[in-house]
Amino acid sequence: MNDDELKQVEIADYKNQIEKIKPQPKLLKNCIWAFTIGGFICLLAQIIFNYLLTSGLDKIQAGNAVAVIMIFLGALLTGLGVYDKIVEKAGAGAIVPITGFANAIVASAMEFKREGYVFGVGAKIFSVAGPTLLFGFVFSALIGLIKVFVNA
């Protein structure tokens, strides 16, 4: 065995060792947390939605208002440092709802204040929101175009 091969074996062995020591994600516990917190966030949104419907908004207005309110809450709780603690426990349960989108925006922007308010905060606000909106816009435009050509 030459030196190179020996090195390969050592690297593979080392990786195996790490796999054994590395803490395995507690799948069941994580899933229960994600389900519960994610469900709770949606439940809260539904309570607000139902309230807005009874106060005279139509379904589309109420849906938009709920999205705005939830985004506000997500951004505020991130600023206060509360939301990141929720994400630690709930994982995807706090990331997948729209509050998690707001969290990603604020969390990435806050770190870059010292680079200024225009090209620091103003740019980094889109480090996660940019790709997310980009793929949403690209697919929605494609869907719209397909519809146009199917109808034609």
Binding site: I71, G91, F135, G136
Partner: protein, 118 residues
């Protein structure tokens, strides 16, 4: 009352799917990937007409996860497409404009007001 239960269950299930993706794949799947995945999936399913029935049934449980935001984009684009190509481009953003503007405005305000903890 039933609307609260379906919102909780469906919202919980969608988040559960996200958690399974995070835990069952390698650690290079970040929260950003989850957000991009959900909005893309929601837009495509919405365009195919498969997501809106879930929103009609589960309300905010399907609308608040980011896949619901994607579905709103797709529904807007489909509606705009009835008015032609320009409508296909403008429809998606029109339908979600309130949420997108709120995210950017509140995101900026909070990032300026608060400093990172720890």
């Amino acid at each position: 009352m039933i609307s609260l239960l379906t919102a909780f269950l469906i919202g919980g299930c969608l988040c559960l799917i996200g958690q399974l993706v995070m835990d069952k794949t390698n650690s290079s799947v970040s929260s950003g990937h989850i957000l991009v995945g959900f909005i893309s999936g929601g837009t495509i399913l919405g365009g195919a007409g498969l997501y809106q029935p879930l929103v009609d049934w589960a309300g905010e449980g399907a609308a608040i996860p980011l896949s619901g935001f994607g579905n709103a984009l797709a529904q807007g684009a489909l509606k705009g497409a009835e008015k032609g190509i320009i409508g296909a481009f403008s429809g998606g953003v029109e339908a979600t404009a309130a949420g997108i503007t709120a995210a950017i405005v509140f995101g900026y305000v909070m990032a300026v007001l608060f400093n990172p903890k720890g």
